[in-house]
């Protein structure tokens, strides 16, 4: 595999996996929390939160990337504060992960929210009458029953992160080994003469990773569903 892929291509694949993995992992708890809030709570500003979460889905990715640059760049209001604490996003792989996480967030929240809404609230009531506090009801009833949805959400987010291009290139540019993920690398290879070969290899890698992720999610959610049905 390392022979088939040159060092430049290999670095793009490894970086993409790293970026997508961390983007998914870090946004998952927040995604579950936001999905739960949208599914189960009524609070002022609920529609605003819902809109905000979905914004990256409808805005041009370049706009999202530019907004990230404005706020999270070293001179931005939030990025500046974080930079003082030693956390830098701009032109680092962490920035690519942030951009990918933001872009994938709506897909993740939608999938998880749907599966939380599918949990019968009467089961949660039953848990409460048996002495479980709301947090315990969430951990022992809602969360396990939502697991297939959370998995699907995570895999969707991972696949979206793998493919993220517009926001990433706007926010953290296209630096080999730092922020050049698979899509950026394909784009870069296509800009130089003789790069089609490398681009094609990365295209194949993309397809393989995406298909494996979908298959995996299918197998896992079937197993969980079978368990719930008592088979």
């Amino acid at each position: 595999m390392t022979n088939w892929l040159g060092p430049d291509e290999w670095s793009a694949v490894a970086l993409s996996l790293q970026v997508s993995f961390w983007a998914t992992l870090v946004s998952l708890p927040l995604g579950v929390f936001v999905a739960y809030a949208l599914a189960r709570w009524n609070f002022p500003g609920k529609q605003l939160l819902n809109g905000l979460v979905h914004l990256p889905l409808i805005l041009p990715p370049v706009v999202t990337g530019y907004l990230l640059l404005l706020t999270m760049g070293t001179k931005g209001p939030i990025g500046g504060l974080l930079a003082e604490a030693g956390i830098v996003f701009a032109f680092r792989w962490t920035g690519a992960a942030l951009a990918a996480g933001v872009m994938a967030f709506p897909l993740m929240v939608r999938a998880i929210r749907l599966s939380i809404e599918a949990v019968d609230p009467r089961l949660e009531q039953a848990g409460a009458t048996l002495g479980a506090s709301p947090l315990w009801v969430f951990l022992t009833v809602t969360l396990p029953m939502t697991l297939p949805g959370i998995l699907v959400g995570a895999i969707l987010a991972f696949a979206k992160a793998m493919g993220e291009f517009g926001a990433t290139i706007t926010f953290v540019s296209n630096i080999p080994g730092q922020t050049r993920t698979i899509p950026s690398a394909i784009y870069a290879f296509l800009q130089v003469p003789g790069g089609e070969d490398s681009a094609l290899k990365l295209v194949i890698v993309s397809i393989v990773i995406a298909m494996s992720a979908l298959l995996l999610s299918e197998i896992v959610s079937r197993r969980v569903a079978a368990r719930l049905e008592g088979r």
């Binding site: 039953a126 409460a128 009458t129 048996l130 002495g131 479980a132 009801v137 396990p144 049905e229 008592g230």
Partner: protein, 366 residues
């Protein structure tokens, strides 16, 4: 322990205004659907906060809107048996049973898992998941789950309503055992006269949000003026001791020294049973009938005569065996010249008493 419930809650077009005292044993909230029974149970469980109310037993206060006390459902330590079971589908039967115990205070008096599993006959089901259980099995597990959460009170909201007749007959004895073997008070919602007759220690009859009658089961069911489910469902309860099983398939009972003959009852001689005698199965005669096929002829005195709106009437008869209700026509009331105080003979056909009308346990009349 005496649980005292007072509630007032306004729904659109309907106001619940109820005061109920639940002594130890089974207190049945009895009435038509929509009478407010489930609202009361949900308020006790904390799933509904009423406009005003107090729910307490001694210094154990679950709710007191006047003093601003509102325990959350998980702080109330109740075992709630729902109509639809509500077992957790992602857990095995064993995990479902153990769920409540995990949250109960460590020093709370609790039932032993083995004992409850034995009592409910769910040993072979422990490693299955709810989806692989029948309706009756699910409900038995739901009873066990509530019982094992070390509750101070058990709530049951029409736990048999979703089951067919056979399954009902299968589960009812478990509630009788619960009443007789476990000292936790039970608040039980039902619209079935059979369930009331077999289970109730105390009955509170509800009609459109009001408690119209409350008292001991035999007393309330023997009152011809209290017919929450209509005259068709009227029937009184007799308590009796099993005397002997005869070779012709009959069981002889002794109800306060009056012999009763019923179809075979699966109880040992000496055990107490409660028998519900439906009012439409009782005939009346002024003279002691002669040459009649019915085996049970009980002399008594007519008490209240309750004329309904239709052609029927319900007569309460005080016999030595206990109070009976008879449903006859108004025409017969006139023909027999029935007035309170009239001497009559109540006639009960042996075969008309259904096995589902006979329950175990109960207590000798006090």
């Amino acid at each position: 322990m005496m649980l005292e419930i007072t509630l007032r809650h306004a729904f659109p077009g309907f106001t619940l205004n109820a005061a109920i005292k639940a002594p130890p044993g089974v207190t049945v909230l009895f009435g038509r659907s929509g009478a407010g029974k489930t609202t009361i149970v949900n308020a006790v469980a904390g799933l509904l906060i009423p406009d005003e109310g107090r729910i307490a037993s001694g210094d154990w206060v679950l709710l007191d809107t006047g003093r601003g006390i509102r325990l959350r459902p998980y702080q109330r330590r109740l075992g709630y048996i729902f109509q639809e079971g509500r077992l957790f589908p992602h857990m095995t039967v064993r995990q479902n049973l153990g769920y409540g115990a995990w949250f109960a205070p460590k020093n709370a008096p609790r039932e032993k898992m083995d004992h409850v599993v034995d009592m409910l006959g769910i040993g072979p089901l422990l490693d299955r998941r709810p989806a692989a259980l029948s309706g009756g099995e699910k409900q038995r597990v739901a009873i066990g789950r509530a019982l094992l959460s070390a509750p101070r009170l058990i709530l049951a909201d029409e736990p048999l309503a979703a089951l067919d007749e056979e399954r009902k007959a299968e589960i009812l004895p478990y509630f009788e055992r619960l009443r007789d073997e476990v000292s936790i008070p039970i608040l039980y919602v039902s619209h079935s006269a059979t369930e009331v007759a077999r289970l109730a220690t105390t009955v509170a009859v509800l009609e459109s949000g009001q408690v119209v009658r409350q008292g001991q089961a035999t007393e309330v069911l023997g009152d011809p003026a209290v017919l929450p489910m209509g005259a068709r469902e009227a029937g009184a309860i007799l308590t009796a001791r099993v005397v002997a099983h005869h070779s012709d398939g009959l069981t002889e009972l002794d109800a306060k020294n009056v012999p009763l003959f019923l179809p075979h009852i699966d109880r040992k001689p000496g055990e107490m049973v409660r028998v519900r005698i439906a009012a439409h199965d009782v005939m009346l005669s002024r003279n002691r009938p002669d040459g009649l096929s019915a085996l049970n002829i009980l002399p008594g005195v007519a008490q209240e005569i309750h004329l309904g709106e239709g052609p029927g009437a319900i007569i309460a008869i005080e016999t030595q065996a206990g109070r009976l209700l008879a449903r006859i026509t108004r025409r017969s009331v006139q023909a027999l010249e029935l007035v309170p105080g009239a001497q009559v003979h109540a006639i009960i056909k042996t075969v008309s008493v259904a096995p589902s009308a006979i329950g175990g346990g109960g207590h000798e009349e006090r």
